[in-house]
């Protein structure tokens, strides 16, 4: 390819290539010529006055850069605001330069206009961002003075009037230790650190500060931008959370109930002091490990595996690390975070102390029963003694008078009361038999059947119907079968007696067995003579009998003693002429402990 020589007449084409608008003005400020870019900005304008085209005026501008250049021949650069061909405001940079004729006179001026509208818009946007960003933004110079600050900064720390940054942020005359601004000036790198300042209203303000260098054209750090994010509310929340956490920790740690928490994989997350004591473990050995199988009763496993919401076992036996069985009430509740299973909390109450108190209470009740019995015994003995003394008086006065009838009468009195002494002794033996019941695991229904079988035929001979009404689902229980048998036998025997003296023919006696509220309930119901208020009041007092000298008055007392020794209670409902109901209630939790199965406490 051969080189083509440049033709100066091609300059017009060159000028048309410019992105900036170019126009040539004559001394009357009329536009002599302009390039294509100018046309795009302001439209076709040759022959029109520049002030008309650029500003829409009818008169020249007060200060006219072109005219000044006509006068002094100097170049000028300035920013102008005008209007484009559509009448929209437009920012542009104007360069004005002289065009001389061959004589050196300035015949025209060349005016180059560069559209700044986009740049200006960007500037405005940055300014708005700077002002409105929800951070404290300040520009600092090398003297650590605030030269510019945004709206949020001014609102919180005040209008900067050349103060040092530490004066504004902290109301402190001293520069902060480990000043971020200083570091950024030194190494040109960004830095960050949490700080605590004081707002102009005196409120403590926590913020996270960032510094970043602001470089000039030659790459030197002339200013530093200091941005900080207010974290006062976050800090307040964190403090609040910290306090709540501390309260929770103290509560859990000092709780008398054992508390353990597991995660979703059944690993122990937490264990309080009571839990360490109950299970005989150290939290250091257990935390982080899967809950050992021996630690929890099987009923709680579904909760730990997210198969059940919660579970509570009132009468559980919890194993300790050394294998001792501890009576406890234990429960678990599943934990979830945002509806996702996150583990379980296990809480347990050591019942050793409670069980001990319960045993002591039972013992006290038993002793009270013995005390009542002894008082009753004294009364019974007094009666017999009176009978014996009477017999002696009558016999001896008969002897004195030689009255055979009286002697015989006295002797019979002596004999009768001697036999009462012997009955009493027999009952006393029954009474003192064994200090404690000897429990065996028995089906209560079996005892009921035995008693019914024992009395059915005898009752039938007197026209009395005896029937057992048994709920067969009552589970076996730890009871002294012989003792319970004699209680029920005594009550059934009483009921049959009540039917015998009743006026109504066709009397019935029912022996019921059922379970309610974890208590085994026996009821002896008769449709016999019933009792009036006074008899009901005295039914359980020693040696009280309505059977004349046919009863010892010890039966119900003995029954009550046995019931109390089994942790149970006996109640009586009776209506004269309609019958009586004796109810024996044995809460399972209070039944005697099977021998040798108690924990060492």
């Amino acid at each position: 390819m051969t080189a083509v020589a440049w033709h100066p007449e091609w300059r017009a084409e060159l000028v048309d290539q410019f992105l900036a608008g170019v126009m040539v003005l004559d001394r009357s400020l009329a536009i002599a010529d302009h390039n294509r870019a100018f046309t795009e900005m302001f439209g076709e304008a040759r022959g029109n006055k520049c002030y008309k085209v650029l500003k829409g005026r009818s008169e020249p501008c007060g200060i006219c850069a072109a005219m000044s250049t006509f006068n002094d021949g100097r170049r000028r650069v300035l920013e102008q605001v005008g209007q484009d061909r559509e009448g929209r405001p437009v920012n542009y940079l104007v360069q004005v330069g002289p065009l001389r004729d061959p004589a050196g006179d300035i015949a025209f001026t060349a005016v180059i206009t560069t559209d700044l509208t986009a740049t200006k818009r960007l500037q405005r946007e940055y300014q708005a961002l700077f002002e409105k960003v929800p951070c404290y933004v300040a520009v600092l110079n090398r003297d650590f003075r605030v030269v510019k600050a945004n709206e949020q900064f001014r609102r919180t720390f005040g209008e900067p009037t050349g103060e040092h940054c530490h004066e504004m942020f902290k109301k402190s005359p001293e520069r902060c230790a480990g000043c971020l601004v200083e570091q950024t000036f030194r190494d040109g790198e960004p830095h960050t650190a949490p700080h605590t300042g004081i707002a102009c209203d005196g409120e403590t303000t926590h913020y996270l500060a960032f510094t970043t260098p602001l470089l000039n054209e030659s790459g030197e750090v002339r200013h530093v931008i200091h941005m900080s994010l207010d974290v006062t509310e976050v800090r307040a929340l964190a403090d609040e959370l910290g306090r709540a956490n501390e309260i929770r920790r103290a509560l859990v740690e000092s709780s008398l109930d054992a508390i353990a928490v597991t995660d979703e994989h059944r690993r122990v997350v937490m264990l309080n002091r009571a839990a360490e004591q109950l299970w005989g473990v150290s939290r250091d050995d257990l935390v982080g490990r899967t809950v050992p199988r021996w630690m929890l009763p099987a009923e709680l496993a579904p909760v730990l595996k997210n198969e059940a919401e919660q579970e509570l076992v009132h009468d559980a036996r919890v194993s300790t690390a050394s294998g001792v069985q501890v009576p406890a009430r234990i429960g678990a509740v599943s934990l979830s975070v945002e509806n996702r299973f996150s583990g379980a909390a296990v809480f347990a109450q050591d019942l050793r102390e409670l069980k001990k108190l319960e045993r002591e209470k039972l013992e006290a009740e038993r002793l009270a029963a013995v005390g009542q019995t002894v008082a009753g015994l004294a009364h019974g003995i007094k009666n017999i003694l009176t009978g014996l003394e009477g017999g002696m008086y009558v016999t001896s006065s008969g002897l004195k008078r030689g009255d055979q009838g009286r002697i015989r009468q006295g002797w019979e009195m002596l004999e009768r009361n001697m036999s009462r002494v012997s009955d009493l002794a027999k009952n006393l033996l029954a009474f003192s038999r064994g200090d404690h019941p000897e429990p065996e695991l028995v089906r209560p229904a079996d005892i009921v059947h035995d008693v019914v079988t024992l009395f059915r035929d005898g009752a039938a001979q007197h026209g009395i119907e005896l029937e057992g009404v048994v709920d067969d689902s009552v589970e076996p229980a730890w009871m002294d079968p012989e003792a319970i048998h004699s209680c029920l036998a005594n009550l059934v025997s009483n009921a049959i007696d009540a039917c015998l003296v009743s006026q109504d023919p066709g009397c019935r006696v029912e022996l019921h067995l059922r379970e309610a509220d974890a208590a085994i309930i026996f009821e002896v119901v008769d449709s016999g003579c019933g009792m009036d208020y006074e008899v009901k009041q005295k039914a359980f007092t020693s040696f009280f009998t309505t059977k004349g000298k046919g009863g010892t008055g010890l039966g119900l007392l003995l029954t009550r003693k046995i019931v109390q020794e089994h942790g149970g209670s006996i109640t009586l409902e009776s209506t004269p002429g309609q019958g009586s109901t004796f109810r024996l209630r044995f809460p399972r939790a209070r039944l005697p402990e099977p021998q040798g199965k108690e924990s060492t406490s």
């Binding site: 004294a378 009666n383 009176t386 009477g390 008086y393 009558v394 009286r406």
Partner: protein
């Protein structure tokens, strides 16, 4: 010396026939005329029919109890003037019980079982205001 007039009548109410026989014998031997009942209802009936000079009442009896009988006696204007001696083995409890009840005046005398014949007679004599018998 007492003048020979009709003997004073004492009503014995006790459910123990041996005690009744004992008291009956003692009273008869000492110049009184005993009337006997072995339950409260019979005792009240006898008291109303015979208006005895004194009543010996047992407390621990089946229905009606001695306490009930005592209340009946005190509530009946014809009988309320008759002195009552309580004969009981549960003396202390009874004294406390009856002492707390304002609506009924306390009995005139107490005899604790078992009793000495002389002790019984001295209470009876005091209540009947008769000089010691010379037997």
């Amino acid at each position: 010396m007492t003048r020979e007039s009709s003997p004073r009548r004492i009503l014995i109410i006790d459910d123990d026939p041996d005690v009744v026989t004992y008291l009956e014998t003692v009273f008869r031997d000492n110049g009184y005329e005993p009337l006997c009942a072995t339950d409260g209802d019979a005792g009240l009936e006898l008291a109303r029919a015979q208006l005895p000079d004194l009543i010996c009442l047992d407390i621990s009896m089946p229905a009606p109890s001695g306490v009930r009988v005592y209340r009946e006696l005190r509530g009946d204007p014809k009988l309320s003037g008759i002195p009552v001696v309580m004969v009981t083995g549960v003396l202390r409890q009874f004294e406390e019980f009856i002492g707390r009840r304002r609506q009924v005046p306390p009995p005139d005398g107490y005899i604790a079982k078992p009793f000495q014949v002389e002790e019984l007679l001295s209470v009876v004599r005091r209540l009947l205001r008769t000089p010691a018998a010379t037997s």
